[in-house]
Symmetry: D2
Subunit: 309 residues, 4 copies
């Protein structure tokens, strides 16, 4: 099996070669640089009949899985609203260099594909398919010092005084209608100071609401409108009890897990799929659909019109 | 002086008569049913040289005033993002009757003018003027039992089995660009279960961020990116110290004030304006601009295009 | 009627004179300088048959009244734990002068009688009578500049360089057993930086738990152990709905009230008592019992032994 | 090396044998059943010159390490208060069986040694040595069904109808004075419904305050009294930045770690000690001192007097 963790513009070549070699594949997200590549990749894994996943790992947070379960059981009824913010702040310093994530030819897009794509995946997982969207995007810092960094996202700025053009978005926001009638509002930005990795969503349904925030990823807040009058309020639930998804693999209730476990659970699902001969999700099909939504968002931000997904 | 607290379709007639009688006027928001009425009202108060305010009272929360002060002093630098939600849930029950707030001819609009207008006012107060918007709106419950209620918003549902058409929005969301380049995302809905009056905003600037939520209206959260590394985080500030706006009129720090004080402060400002011969804000001009934005939002939701404000 | 809001050493004389003149009386807390005075005051109001209350106003927060209601209805079952902190920080500056609250002959005690007495009253209201206690107290700043201040608690420090001795406690903590078997832990301090008025408690019973914090006084957190597995968690309830105590006298749900309303409710109760010929609580008997507990705490901190209340 | 994770009454025998065999040793906490055993164990590791640690793992949370660093650097000045609660609820059901943790001959004590010992360790780590304490303890459910469980803490109750006596405390609370003059209040209970593993502390010093809660273990709240007036408030800091202890071994800021990492860090420290020839902490000496404090607490709860530590 192959796990592709290289920059986005390399995913297609590696994945297609791996599929043709009969390897099962996990790839980092977004699936590809663009829809065309994504389609070729999806064709390749189907043709070669390999197991495939795309690493939208936040699905595998126990709290998110539990949200999915509650929604699937009808506990919040028909969904009216999905509201997602994915807020970061790691490139706010204008001296932060022009790393690969800021170059369209390597990354495909900026905040959109890097973090907005996660919100899109969560929306598809929890709410359903998109119908149409309208968007805006912005690049606040239009030029940055040249130079890559070896130290990861948090590396200190370099001192290269030559500037290059930032060719991706710093921030994107979009409105969406889902096929089931729910309304969605989304925002993904790398310019929200104080938000290191604020990946959050809120869902409002006819019978209840759910809120989640990655910075306290073990918690979920749940409201039921049929709770006894006077005692209605969001319940703060630490999803570390045996009854919560994945939690019985771990320590006693109240002892939290961290970010890496989202990957552990994803890989567990991947291996289960291989062992038990089913195709897990999110897979290349999910990755392709996600890529089409990314494309629609880019189109809308240029045409300034609603775009069908 | 006249304080107009009757339904929206009566504001214009009363206000114009009051202005012509030389009375100073406060009116509930939105200023009017539509832009035409709002213009007539603004003309009337100018012509008759009376003091006028429109009751966008949330501006007068000490925490919001303090946010304004921080922004004006440049403490968060250039603003990148304004993100506002105004979430309520009081009409989610389909048996909730067709009260005046759900009839366009009486209220002008639904969640948009009732609560979205507050977010718009806060945005104008804190960030600046709007440039353009794109929106969507929805009416989830399209017919409701006829009948008014005397018991206020929280009255129990009536049992009238005759249904009438809801002619206003239950929910609206819009994206905005401000004239200063900031991006805005807005959502106003009466279908967000568990949110009795969740009027909140977040502001991200180049040097810091600010968050506020009416349900804990005395608090404000402030982040500065130039805080010492390791010690950067949102500060939870209870705006009840003498140094905070209006707070020195009250009890010692940590002893909070409530909703009614936003009105007390507004009226204080109104009376100060009369006494000291200046025209306070928000006034009929603010009300008119707000009404134009409401109109643009309605237009965009129909045309499905961006609309200049 | 007479409302006594002068320093503690004046309560007895005024109250006794008022009672003898047949006046109904509200007095600030603690009731008196010491148990002896408190007994005389209680004797006076009984003998003269006047209505009397002592201003332990936090009882009258809707959220606290609601907690009382839940406990009385058996919703959390037998109580195991009561845990109260009353944390302030207004005298932490060593230059804060030797105001009357820091002189035993005027105030009776320090943090103990000023804020600890509030926690004691809440404990008696919510849990029941005390059985025994053990305590410690401390005066961290033993001498301070002489001089009163006119500006209230938050006045800036004076510059008097002559020092006088602080004769009351800066902080006190005590353990308690209640007559019903519950355990209590209490801490009252004016040296808890960042806590302007953190008057909070937590209650754990066999079937549920309740948490409250004055800094967000409209909220209460409630946990039920018989909530559905997986969905157990503290519910954050904004006690502003019609069903909550006193709330239907105010504005719609989610629009909070402030500190002064605790007094409004207390005075409402006082006037109801006068009008309807019943003796409201907390009254001088409550004030006397509270004073006996304060005395026991002082004794224990000196004897270093458990003291029966 | 030997890692002892068996019940408490087996630690001494295993550890002494391991020391005599020249093995480096980590043992679960508390170190032993009682002070006598703890002294023998400490003697054994000293005599045999092996590296030794006792698994008070919460010290190794990055947020706690960071708190230590701030205190050591004098950032909050002289400490006035340490306030610790360790609240759990896993044995509240009277049908929960008489597992080994509820038998004094196997566990030594109940909530005291199991969770209170953690708070004591954190207090010693962060504040310093204890001077004297006074305590109370309680066993709310005095008899329980016989029978062990294989499923860990969260196993469902058994149905054995024969009852046996619970010989340890369900809850303990104590007041403490530290040698440096700080006051401590502690509570450890397994009867605090809704608190799965609420291991929390608050520290108040002359220049600032720190708060931490294991249920959101990556966060720390820090207050500085010399922050600019108006902007004073607890900062909510997610200790996941490179500058925070241990954090640079992990993923980007805002992506949290979980409970197991406290052990990973402890073992890292243990191995560093072996490799670099120093004796890490917390070690058997810390375990012995902790055991002496546990003993003093037990003595005080019986004598009802303050006990020197």
């Amino acid at each position: 099996m192959i796990d592709i963790v290289t920059p986005n513009h390399t995913h297609a070549e590696i994945a297609i070669a791996a599929a043709e070699a009969g390897k099962h594949i996990i790839t980092e997200k977004p699936l590809a640089l663009n829809v065309e590549e994504a389609e070729q990749m999806y064709d390749a894994v189907k043709k070669n009949n390999v197991t495939h996943m795309v690493c939208y790992s936040y699905r595998f947070t126990p709290a998110v899985q539990y949200a999915k379960q509650l929604i699937s059981e009808g506990r919040i009824g028909k969904v009216y609203h999905f509201r997602a913010n994915y807020l970061q702040d790691f490139i706010m310093d204008p001296q932060f260099p022009l790393v690969w994530r800021l170059k369209k030819e390597v990354s495909g897009s900026g905040a959109l594909g890097d973090i907005g794509a996660h919100s899109i995946d969560l929306a598809r997982f929890l709410i359903g398919e998109f119908k149409e969207i309208v968007s805006m995007k912005e690049t606040f810092i239009k030029e940055r010092p040249l130079g890559e960094m070896t130290g990861g996202l948090s590396a200190t700025s370099n001192t290269n005084s030559t500037l290059g053009k930032v060719t991706v978005d710093d921030a994107v926001a979009f409105l969406a209608r889902f096929q089931n009638g729910a309304l969605g509002t989304f925002e993904a930005t790398r310019f929200a100071g104080g938000n290191r990795n604020k990946n959050k969503f809120e869902i409002n349904g006819e019978k209840g609401s759910i809120r989640w925030d990655m910075e306290n990823m073990n918690n979920i807040e749940v409201y039921f409108s049929d709770d006894e009058p006077g005692l209605q309020g969001f319940r703060l639930i630490n999803c570390t009890e045996d009854i919560h998804p994945y939690a019985n693999a771990y320590w006693p209730a109240g002892h939290i897990i961290g970010y890496e476990h989202t990957f552990i659970h994803l890989i567990h699902e991947f291996l289960s799929g291989i062992a038990n001969k089913y195709q897990p999700s999110p897979n290349f099909e999910d990755g392709l659909i996600n890529q089409k939504i990314l494309k629609a968002i880019e189109q809308s931000s240029e045409s300034k019109k609603w775009v069908d997904v």
